[in-house]
């Protein structure tokens, strides 16, 4: 009996291991002298929505930006520890950051389309990665815009400038731009904070659909949003992960007093 069970268990562990997209080990980050992330140990699961919540300045945006190394854009940033993406340490000197960012897309707080046509925005990614076939690009545009639930609204004006779209449409265009290179993970940094409630709802529904094919990490300062759309939630406070659990568990019976206080709206 015991001998039979052991390999099965091991198999399950291996399976679980495969399903981990990101693993952070002892991740620390400083802005100059200020430490923004403290000893973060956190796994991100495949095909799940992981929400990061916490008050302003708790390090949630900083954390998500280390996952595609966007923090490097700020010269005074220093990091220590390891972040594994699919079992490779992204801080490794040999690791190619452009490859990482091709597989890991990002949607920002404020919609940031390029000042080009809707079409050109979507094909930007595929084009820089060498896809030139016009028919294939047309296909990518349709598929990506459909994936971002924007196709019906813009299919007749693909050649128009992206700035003519509403804020919510621009944000979905940014998601489409991200989908165009068929990433593995999508990082979303407060994607609805600049949007009206109806656009927010659309993005939330979209996140639910995207989960089928993508692993999503979403930073939000809106706890209800985290509750609505995520499978797992991590609560950040002062650069530390206070609690990380299944969203249902966390919202119904938080383990830490601080999590409870935050979720019940006593601070933040």
């Amino acid at each position: 009996m015991i001998a039979e069970k052991a390999p099965k268990q091991m198999q399950e562990e291996v399976k679980a291991e495969e399903k981990i997209v990101y693993r952070a080990e002892q991740l620390n980050l400083w802005y100059g002298e200020d430490q923004a992330l403290k000893n973060i140990d956190m796994d991100i699961q495949e095909n799940e929505v992981t929400a990061i919540i916490g008050p302003s300045g708790c390090g949630k945006s900083t954390y998500i930006k280390t996952l595609n190394r966007m923090t490097e854009m700020i010269p005074i940033v220093r990091t220590s520890g390891r972040v594994y993406y699919r079992n490779e340490n992204i801080f490794d000197k040999k690791y190619k950051v452009e490859e990482l960012r091709t597989k890991v897309g990002m949607v920002f707080q404020k919609p940031n389309p390029f000042p080009k046509s809707i079409y050109e925005n979507v094909v930007y990614g595929p084009k820089i990665h060498g896809i030139k076939d016009k028919k294939l690009l047309d296909e990518i545009v349709e598929r990506s815009l459909k994936g971002a639930a924007l196709w019906d609204e813009v299919k007749d004006r693909l050649k128009e400038n992206a700035f003519g779209l509403s804020g919510g449409q621009q944000q979905r265009l940014c998601i489409a731009r991200c989908l165009a290179v068929e990433p593995d993970v999508i990082l979303m940094d407060e994607p609805t904070s600049a949007l009206d409630p109806i656009s927010t709802l659309k993005i939330e529904e979209l996140v639910q659909e995207l989960k089928e094919n993508y692993s999503i990490v979403i930073v939000t300062h809106n706890m209800q949003q985290a509750g609505r759309i995520s499978d797992k939630t991590a609560f950040f406070l002062n650069g530390e992960v206070v609690e990380y659990d299944n969203t249902d568990t966390m919202f119904s019976s938080p383990q830490d007093k601080r999590t409870e206080d935050y979720i019940s709206g006593r601070f933040g």
Partner: protein, 310 residues
């Protein structure tokens, strides 16, 4: 304790405000308006003079000859007034200058806005501005006594006065202008747009060339057009190093004459007041004015029309 203190300050202010003189509010705007009017009046005056003297010129020489004739010999016994050689000389030099200024200026702008660290930028920008502050007569002698002999060493055909040398030096002179204006336009592209491009896996070069440059294109092109305008109007360098040989030939190794250099030549006393050749400088000046005006209007139009709304 606090109450009376507050009270007295309030009273003090009330007192001051009644005593405040109103002349600054009434007189100063009038003075400012006067200053604004002075520059407008000067411009109108210049344009009027230009028009009336040009008109005097065209009473003696037909506009048709001025535009169509390919010969410019105002000081001959049988003078000929075809503006084309002067325009050719001007455009040849402007073209050579732009061949230098556009690539180098643009590359400098891209480097400064996309690659350089803050410290490097703070070092290079003032140096560029020094380059922009050198008097053009110094550039002129630099062209004549340094660049021309250097060119002669490689291309024996180059004569002492030629189009190539001043063209190159005018180009060097306007590099800072192209670089500085283009860099301003590129730096104005919001950071979020660069982040968006980096997040899609772009390299730094791709971000610069495929996102930032297109986004800043209106400002960049406007800087090119203003630079052309500057090159066309440039006087000292071409007078010192370009020679005074009006020709429609495109041979850059021999002497030419630009519109500006011709005006200098006549202004220095080759022609008596009231003669046809005297009036001719106004006609040439008018042509020059039209060229640079068109360029400036074009630059204005481009930067307005293609202004990106971020």
């Amino acid at each position: 304790m606090k109450e009376p203190m507050n009270h007295s300050i309030r009273e003090l202010i009330a007192e001051k405000s009644t005593r405040r003189t109103k002349w600054a509010e009434i007189m100063m705007p009038k003075f400012f308006l006067l200053c604004a009017i002075i520059s407008i009046l000067t411009t109108i005056g210049i344009v009027l003079t230009l028009f009336s003297e040009t008109f005097s010129f065209f009473r003696e020489v037909s506009i048709l000859e001025f535009i169509t004739s390919a010969e410019w010999y105002p000081l001959h016994n049988d003078p000929s007034y075809g503006i084309r050689p002067l325009i050719t000389g001007t455009l040849v030099i402007a073209a050579i200058a732009m061949c230098i200024a556009i690539p180098i200026g643009l590359a400098t702008a891209i480097y400064l806005s996309e690659y350089a660290t803050d410290k490097t930028r703070r070092t290079i920008k003032p140096i560029l501005e020094v380059l922009a502050g050198i008097p053009t007569i110094v550039y002129g002698f630099f062209a004549l006594t340094f660049v021309t002999p250097l060119l002669q060493r490689f291309i024996p055909d180059v004569s002492i006065y030629n189009a190539l040398s001043p063209g190159l030096v005018v180009g060097i002179m306007i590099i800072p202008m192209v670089a500085s204006l283009s860099e301003d336009a590129m730096s104005a592209v919001p950071r979020s747009m660069r982040e968006g491009a980096f997040a899609l896996g772009s390299t730094r070069f791709e971000v610069a060339v495929k996102v930032v440059l297109p986004a800043a294109l209106s400002g960049v092109i406007a800087s090119f057009v203003l630079a052309v305008s500057r090159a066309i109007g440039e006087t000292m360098i071409v007078t010192v190093a370009g020679g005074s040989n009006p020709t429609t030939s495109l041979d850059v190794t021999s002497a030419v004459q630009t519109m500006t250099a011709y005006i200098v030549q006549i202004s220095l006393g080759d022609a008596g007041y009231g003669t046809t050749e005297y009036y001719s400088i106004y006609a040439v000046g008018m042509t020059l004015f039209i060229f640079t005006l068109l360029m400036n209007v074009l630059a204005h139009f481009i930067s307005k029309r293609f202004r990106e709304v971020y």
